[in-house]
Symmetry: C2
Subunit: 634 residues, 2 copies
């Protein structure tokens, strides 16, 4: 097959309009039991059959009387009701002729022989719920296109409604394709990719109001895919194919849509999400979703969400937006609209947005994201400190209850975050990994609550305090002592290239993988290389930078590098050989003013807890002598 | 049985603390498939088993090369790659020795015999997704106590997770009790009440994260109820009994809890919701929920929600609050904390809160509510115009897209609202029924977008315009012509008391039901009574006021009144006899500035539509000659 190399670059809004306008869907209606209607969408307004209450009812426990018999009653001149002149009633009992009012039981005194004394009058219909007080027959209870809630169910039943017309949920067939993808749980071979997108898409379909139907994996084969699509069209209102939507040699989706029906769009100006296919087969909408998970998510949010929402009778909601300050410069291409995942944090009453990884394959950027920054096609990006609008993915309340930590990476940050959330699920820890120095700079700009740092002062041989004194001289900063951790050289298990120390990094047969500039580990590495008199230009891979210990360890474990520097826990997790080169102090710099905040107290409580220390002892590679001690620096 | 007449009046927070502290629950954990985990709550943090990708993978369709072979390439000095020196790769294919970079297919030119020309260099690992780019083995994917979303499912599967530990949903048994309640769908006799609360509570339990189990109705009988509770305790973690929680002669719940276990609370200082029972039987929490629907809802929100949330591992969310201006005076008792349902509307950028019916039995006040105003026990109420905090029940966005109509009631308001929502489900019409004059006053105070009015000027014999000129002289107001409607005297079918006209209202054997002061219908009635020379004090029931046409019609239909004045549609809906006494003009007063708002345009579009006019013709009793015409008044 000839390769079509280039995709179109159609404007997103234009593509969406083309797609929705052409969609010849017919909303189907079904009648279901009210008691099973939670979360469904009404297809018609619903009018009450009965009034509620359906009779005049006592609003209290008490006695039913004729109001005019009570008019003379007063404390000095009580009225006696004889047996037969009144009737005991409970709340909800019918009130009918000759009675027209109720005296509450607390105001009634028994005086023997069934006679009762009352000392204050009631007016006609007092303490009586009139017929229709709640619902009047023929009154509208809920309108059409209304999502049915628990309270609605109560009102519908009270109004005599037992079945209700709702929109049928559109059925959405999801076909995972790809010769390289395997079902979750299978043993992975090199080149295998676990099929996970279809399960994410299933969840999204449910959230949009549709009914997903996921098929088994289909290999990249024109005929097999054609048969799968035909089958899915029979069983569904909408068909989704993931992936094969690009223009590679094994991307059949656009060709199939063209051959079997009508191709409307192939390629839109979004990043990620460009290689999308939109079309119709047998008049049913077909969406070809790209394979990268974030691309798949973006495409689904743009095209599948409004389609399914509308089909299900739901309102197409505007995203909730907030204004935030961008914490670092962001450059974006004029070729497309970009969807940048961001972490949000509220520090000193400013909402700060920090961009996460922009890779289309980085699912974790979506898992961690609090919001999406849409950079319009006509915009080249934003400067640090600029105000931007963010589409919220999480509740603002949760975001406000989040400790914003920006600085060096350590596995314990995830552990601490988990323990905080577990102790009080209202609070979270958001940890951005930019290295120690960048963490201090973030504190200086007021963008973080804390910076985890491990910065060696070469002159004094001490950690962290000198840096705070130098770089945050004008701020009140405390240092919460964290952990001592062992840094070392990581090599493959059994050390096949016999690396002994830092001096081996410059060997010709050694490929090194480095940490990014400003990272404490990088500073330590550079310090040791300088002491050993090694020219960094001689080191093969010195320019290859990773932003976490685990990424370095993974590179070594996979064989794409022979050696890297990092902490023991990372080496242990990836089953690597580890040669200690020093112990360093990983602490938390924090503006003194924040020490009184509940969530910071919770943080300190967690790191001083027995649970946390037990965990570290079990991990190994950490010293915990001073953990939680607070030192005022400036 | 002896009656215990008085309930305790325990402070709400104290009662909740007692109840939650005493709850000896044990969160149970179950392991389920990740693909079935949407919406469940993690019981532990989840760490990746595999890295994703699990190998170095091509990030593009292109050719795999050794980067150093490309360094010399430039436009003037292209490099030729011979067959064997490169390898075609698709996105996701593994990149391994000797290759360490990928050139994208667009940058490759075939020059024959399998040779390829390239004109720009790539650096090592360019266009290669390194192992662990997305997820690194052993990294935390999601923390504990996290609600699993679609994106999380994708990440979990990618990280090699197939099963996951989640909190078991607490099972909540719901026992509806009452000798007077009947299952929905049964034919109603006088005194019967449709059982609807348990179905509302079922829905709430689901929303809180629990698993409801609803039992059949149990009569008010000590032994039957005891057996039902015993059975429910075996099958559930929490038992809810509705109702019988008060202190009436048939209220057994508190007694049963006392006899079978431990009674903690009976009666709290809330309105509605006072008669609540909290206790423990076999160490399982038991909640006795009052019978009035709004009381049941309030009690469930206060006590069941935090209990179930916590049990399910979910965060106990703070209500979302907004500040709003109260549109009318609200007096509240110092005996309890009151939960007042309010409609919210945004008019002139002010959020306006209008209290709805405060009756504990008025489910529709919950159906219609946009928020809850909590009036603390120590507060006697608020003045009109005071700023108050409202707990939101709906999205602020939906509230902002709502036309706030305050004024006279007509059935067509529900119909118009429904048609607006149907045309564009982003918009709603909220209609408060306070009478024509109060509607004009609301416009004057800037609390409404429009006031539906039908105000007869006795001097000119015209409707509405003179009132606008007089009462809103300083505002730019337009009058959108609505409908002409026939007002008349409503009596029971076949007019058993032979009522002929307005002069019969003062007859001794006639019980009248009136509309509230300021209502157009009341003004018309008073005008006709004055003309007929009738003293209103002679009229039996003149003081009995209803706020809607349908309520008046229902009172007549039920026999609690013999006669009322209202519109034809109400009489028809309740199958009453109708004696026309005049035609009136029901129009919409609206500040001119609002005419340009999208939702007001939508309103005008709807009332001018054929659908709407067809509907009115079918209803009967309306004239539609000028509907939608706009008259500038001031």
């Amino acid at each position: 097959m000839e390769r079509k190399i280039y995709l179109d670059n159609m404007d997103v809004d234009e593509a969406l309009k083309l797609f929705l306008d052409r969609t010849g869907y017919k909303q189907e209606i079904e009648e279901i039991h009210v008691i099973q209607s939670l979360g469904r969408v009404t297809a018609d307004a619903v009018f009450a059959i009965y009034s509620s209450p359906n009779f005049n009812a006592s609003a209290m426990d008490g006695i039913a009387v004729r109001a005019k018999d009570t008019y003379e009653a007063s404390e000095v001149n009580p009225v006696i009701f004889k047996k037969g002149q009144y009737k005991y009633v409970d709340t909800g009992d019918p009130i009918s002729e000759p009675y027209d009012a109720v005296i509450m039981i607390e105001d009634v005194v028994e005086v023997g022989e069934g006679n009762l004394k009352i000392i204050s009058p009631v007016f006609p219909w007092q303490n009586v719920r009139p017929i229709g007080e709640d619902i009047v027959a023929n009154e509208m209870i809920i309108p059409s296109n209304h999502i049915i809630g628990p309270v609605d169910i109560g009102a519908l039943l009270s109004g005599g409604i037992t079945t209700i017309k709702v929109y049928k949920k559109p059925r959405v067939g999801i076909i995972p394709t790809g010769t390289e993808i395997v079902e979750p749980g299978e043993k992975l071979k090199i080149g295998d990719i676990i099929e996970s997108n279809s399960r994410m898409l299933e969840g999204l379909v449910k959230e949009y109001g549709g009914e997903p139907l996921r098929y088994s994996i289909v290999a990249d084969d024109y005929e097999l895919l054609k048969a799968a699509i035909k089958n899915a069209l029979m069983e569904n209102d909408i068909v989704v194919i993931n992936a094969g939507s690009s223009a590679g040699s094994e991307d059949y989706t656009s060709k199939l849509v063209e051959d079997m029906g009508e191709l409307i769009v192939h390629g839109v100006a979004t990043k990620p999400g460009k290689p999308v296919v939109l079309g119709f087969i047998e008049n049913k909408p077909v969406i070809g979703v790209p394979g990268y998970p974030v691309s798949a998510w973006v495409v689904f949010e743009i095209f599948a969400k409004p389609l399914i929402n509308r089909w299900a009778g739901r309102q197409i909601k505007q995203e909730k937006k907030v204004e935030a300050v961008l914490s670092k410069r962001l450059v974006s291409s004029l070729r497309n609209k970009e969807f940048v995942r961001v972490k949000l944090g509220k520090v000193n009453n400013n909402l700060i947005a920090t961009p996460l990884s922009r890779g289309a394959g980085v699912t974790m950027s979506l898992v961690r994201a609090d919001g999406i920054l849409e950079v319009p096609q006509t915009c080249e990006g934003y400067e640090a400190g600029e105000k931007v609008n963010i589409n919220l993915l999480k509740d603002l309340e949760d975001i406000q209850n989040t400790i914003v930590s920006i600085g060096s990476h350590d596995l314990i940050m995830d552990i601490i975050g988990n323990m905080i959330h577990r102790k009080n699920s209202a609070y979270n820890l958001s940890s951005s990994h930019v290295g120690s120095m960048a963490g201090l700079m973030a504190l200086r700009r007021g963008e973080a609550h804390m910076a985890p740092i491990h910065l060696l002062d070469e002159e004094t041989g001490t950690y962290n305090i000198e840096y705070i004194k130098k770089y945050l001289a004008n701020m009140d900063i405390a240092l919460i002592k964290g952990v001592k951790r062992i840094q070392g050289i990581m090599t493959k298990k059994n050390n096949p290239k016999s690396i002994k120390g830092i001096e081996d990094l410059a060997r010709d047969d050694i490929r090194f993988v480095n940490r990014q500039k400003g990272a404490g580990t990088r500073i330590l590495t550079d310090y040791l290389l300088k002491n050993a008199g090694i020219d960094t230009e001689k080191i093969n891979g010195y320019q290859r930078e990773m932003t976490t210990h685990m990424a370095v360890a993974a590179a070594v474990a996979s064989g794409s590098a022979d050696v890297g520097v990092g902490v023991y826990s990372a080496a242990k997790a990836m089953d690597l050989n580890f040669i200690p080169i020093g112990e360093e102090e990983y602490d938390f710099a924090i503006p003194t003013a924040f020490l009184d905040e509940i969530m910071i107290k919770l943080f300190i409580e967690v790191i001083m807890s027995k649970d946390f220390k037990d965990y570290l002892n079990q991990m190994g590679g950490y010293g915990i002598e001073n953990t939680g001690h607070i030192i005022k620096c400036n």
